[in-house]
Symmetry: C2
């Protein structure tokens, strides 16, 4: 499996952008996080390693990671963007508890088939998806 930092560096080189220590720290921290992390949560984690990194840099890096496919934006309806590792090609969805906010990932082969079918029918070139199922988890009942 190709490492994320290689993907990033190739992308930077190709676009004439530069490697910086900030980008390294942010990527590292993002990968170490469990996933489904918001910009401010990531910022909070980063603050511990390097308190001088600003919000803008975190946001800009997340956009960069999204552009090169390392990250993917997801949205759980809490009013802010969340990010997860995007290079993982497994088509998955999220099961979100509307009571306690707990989130689980699930994988279903059926999603891939559905996406293929739909995008052919409407003549779209598919480029990602989001599938979120909301419910109440066992504990919250």
């Amino acid at each position: 499996m190709r490492k994320e930092n290689e993907i990033l560096n190739d992308y930077l080189r190709q676009k004439g952008l530069k490697q910086t220590s900030q980008r390294n720290v942010i990527l590292e921290t993002f990968l170490a996080s469990g996933g489904h992390i918001s910009a401010d949560e990531l910022q909070e984690m980063i603050r511990k390693k390097n308190p001088r990194i600003g919000f803008s840099t975190v946001y800009r890096s997340l956009r960069l990671f999204t552009e090169c496919g390392i990250a993917r934006e997801v949205n759980f309806g809490d009013g802010r963007a969340r990010f997860e590792r995007g290079f993982d090609k497994t088509q998955h969805g999220h099961l979100v508890c509307t009571s306690c906010g707990k989130t689980e990932e699930f994988t279903v082969a059926a999603i891939q088939k559905t996406i293929k079918h739909i995008s052919e029918k409407y003549d779209y070139k598919p480029d990602g998806h989001r599938f979120e199922v909301y419910g109440i988890c066992k504990k919250c009942r």
Copy 2:
């Protein structure tokens, strides 16, 4: 089919809330809109009928409609919430063009099966879903 205003009025009565002319106008306008409408677009439509209705009332009403199941919040990644009729039990998804923003609805029976399967497996009581497929539409290629 049970009318939305009946659903709303029952909900209001049950919660000890009140019927108001504003809520009527907002509901009417929301239903007349094509769907996938944002709060400010709805406000804009409402302004023509009754220019004195404020933003807060529109937001508060949309939350109310969402609570009683008349509306459903959807999110197309443009940074603001959009609302569609929620009592329509047809399980559908959205196909969003990431280039021009055009949105189409599609229906697939497979989604229902998938949701049922997943929520049983993880022991969640399902309560809604979002399924968005992103791509580039025919025109934008």
